[in-house]
Amino acid sequence: MKYLDMTAVSRRMNFRLFKNKFAKVMFICSTLFGLIMLAILIARVFTQGIGWLNLDFLTGKLSTDPDRAGIMGAILGTAWLMLIVAPVTMILGVGTAIYLELYAKPGRLKSFIQTNISNLAGVPSIVYGILGLTVFVRAMNMGNIVLAGGLTMALLILPIVIVSSQEAIRAVPQHLSEASYGMGATKWQTVKNIILPASLPGILTGAILALSRAIGETSPLVVIGIPALLIPFPSSIFDKFTVLPMQIYYWTLDSSLVAEYAYLAAATIIVLLIILLILNSAAIFIRNKFQQRF
């Protein structure tokens, strides 16, 4: 006697195949849902903002009058902020990655530092804001200037830069450093002349992606206390400043009072998204163009 009744199996098979088809449609719909939301979001922002986006808006000063308002101050503020964030995170991030990957001996200390870094990567950005407020703005008495904001943002993206730099360094094959050591090169000579140049594209890609995260971050700066007031363009790292996301935040909040502010916010979002797009393209370009195949 047969255990399987083939007619019953094939009768059930139709139902099983139908379930499979149905599920597949559901899975496709889910995937499309995310993509459609992305499309709606971008379409919404563009239809609202594009009409307000012109040269006067880009180069103008902040104003409470929607027709005269411009975002040059916020663009400059973002640029000044990056002037702090980029070098500080690069030095700290790459330095830490070199230490962990090439100098630290495996053991308790190394795994403690590594765990600490991965935990820091999961800390909400607003927590960094409070740290910056307490340490830089208040304890060091800097006030809410570019330097304080930049250092706060640098600490926020530091774990990302460290981890991506570590990956880039780890990707440099052992036989390259062996060849260098084999010629009598010292450790630092090998690091400086062989390992760092070979891992540079990877390090840069990670750093640019981390920077674009910092450019879009709002909450740490809200907490530090970036004023909603009209302030002059920043011209040094000791000036007060505002950035694009902050401007979006204030205009969105106030759009219930002045309807046009929503359009200004949308126009600013377009500018912000374009900057992020450029940075991400640069990162992808570097990754594809300079990544060595060893």
Binding site: R16, K19, N20, K24, M26, F27, I28, S30, T31, F33, G34, L35, M37, L38, L41, R44, V45, G95, T96, I98, Y99, L100, I113, N116, I117, S118, N119, L120, G122, V123, P124, S125, I126, V127, G129, I130, L133, T134, R138, L158, K187, V191, S212, R213, G216, T218, S219, V222, I224, I248, Y249, T252, L253, S255, A262, A265, A266, I269, L273, L276
Partner: protein
């Protein structure tokens, strides 16, 4: 061939070795410098814990721990202030639950589609697009929730308030979809093909293979992605700050405005609370609670994915 140089190189190298003191100093100095740089990330953690702890202790000298964790009223600005954190925890919990109700099913199904059903070509297009979704700044989602989703929802639910917890919760869910999808997809793609082929060869449909073989094998990674998504929702600030307002309601009614822990922190710091006031210290007590919550979530996610990892 020039052989006159034969001993030149050796001699040159030897001479250089004797005259160069700099490399030796660099060699000694660099590890120390790098260790100092590395200590910054540890100092950051110490800084967070130390400042939060000391200010929180100060807060609990003024407000009792019991009141903080059991009172359902938060009225820091009233004449007779009350400091109960429960409304904030409720706001955080409800917005996070709404977000996860969106992100978990859709993220998981997206992951299943990309890992099990989609062709290589579709995957190559869809994954970067989802990464864009993940790369959009949260402030943009806040704008989207407040000026687009809320008005639409108010057409459907007439008694929805202009600021409410529902709309930011939903949008936060959309924001977290890519995170859940990509982490779950990673877990599913690392299930070896041999397992799939074994089940397919017995006449299983793709759906059955996914449900009975792939998901169980990738479960730890999938659950870890949910926990990380939840942690992200708990710590999310701008969407809820913009779209949910600042009413400290202790309720389950999602049509109302509620405040999350993060939004409270923004409100207090934007209000320029004078240092030394109780409301200033309450900031740290709330931040400490938030910090511990998210830290525990992240550690839980790591524990799950490490502890229950399948070895193939």
């Amino acid at each position: 061939m020039n052989t006159s140089m034969d001993h030149n190189i050796k001699d040159l190298i030897r001479k250089n070795k004797e005259s160069q003191k700099l490399p030796k100093i660099t060699e000694k100095f660099m590890p120390i410098l790098l260790l100092i740089i590395t200590s910054v990330s540890i100092l950051t953690t110490i800084g967070i814990i130390f400042t939060f702890l000391s200010e929180t202790i100060e807060f609990f000298k003024r407000v009792s721990v019991v009141e903080f964790f059991t009172s359902t009223t938060l009225k820091p600005l009233s004449q007779d202030p009350e400091y109960g954190v429960l409304p904030l925890i409720a706001g955080t919990a409800i917005s996070s639950v709404i977000a996860m109700l969106v992100a978990v099913p859709i993220g998981l199904m997206t992951a299943i589609y990309l890992s099990e059903y989609a062709s290589e070509r579709v995957r190559k297009i869809a994954k970067p697009l989802l990464e864009i979704l993940a790369g959009i700044p949260t402030i943009v989602y806040g704008f989207f929730a407040f000026t687009f989703i809320t008005p639409i929802l108010r057409e459907i639910i007439p008694n929805l308030e202009p600021t409410n917890i529902l709309s930011p919760g939903l949008v936060m869910g959309v924001m977290i979809i890519p995170m859940v999808a990509s982490l779950s997809e990673d877990a599913m793609s690392s299930v070896p093909n041999a397992l799939r082929e074994g089940a397919l060869a017995l006449g299983s449909t793709k759906l059955e293979v996914t449900r009975r073989v792939v998901i169980p094998a990738a479960l730890s990674g999938i659950i870890a992605s949910f926990v990380l998504g939840l942690s992200r929702a708990i710590g999310e600030t701008m969407i809820v700050t913009i779209a949910s307002g600042s009413s400290k309601n202790f309720t389950l009614d999602v049509t109302q405005s509620m405040q999350t822990m993060t939004a409270y922190i923004v409100e207090v710091t934007s209000g320029d609370a004078p240092a030394g006031s109780t409301i200033y210290y309450s900031l740290y007590a709330v931040a400490m609670t938030l910090f511990i919550f998210t830290l525990l979530m992240n550690m839980l996610a790591k524990y799950i994915s490490r502890r229950f990892r399948e070895d193939y």
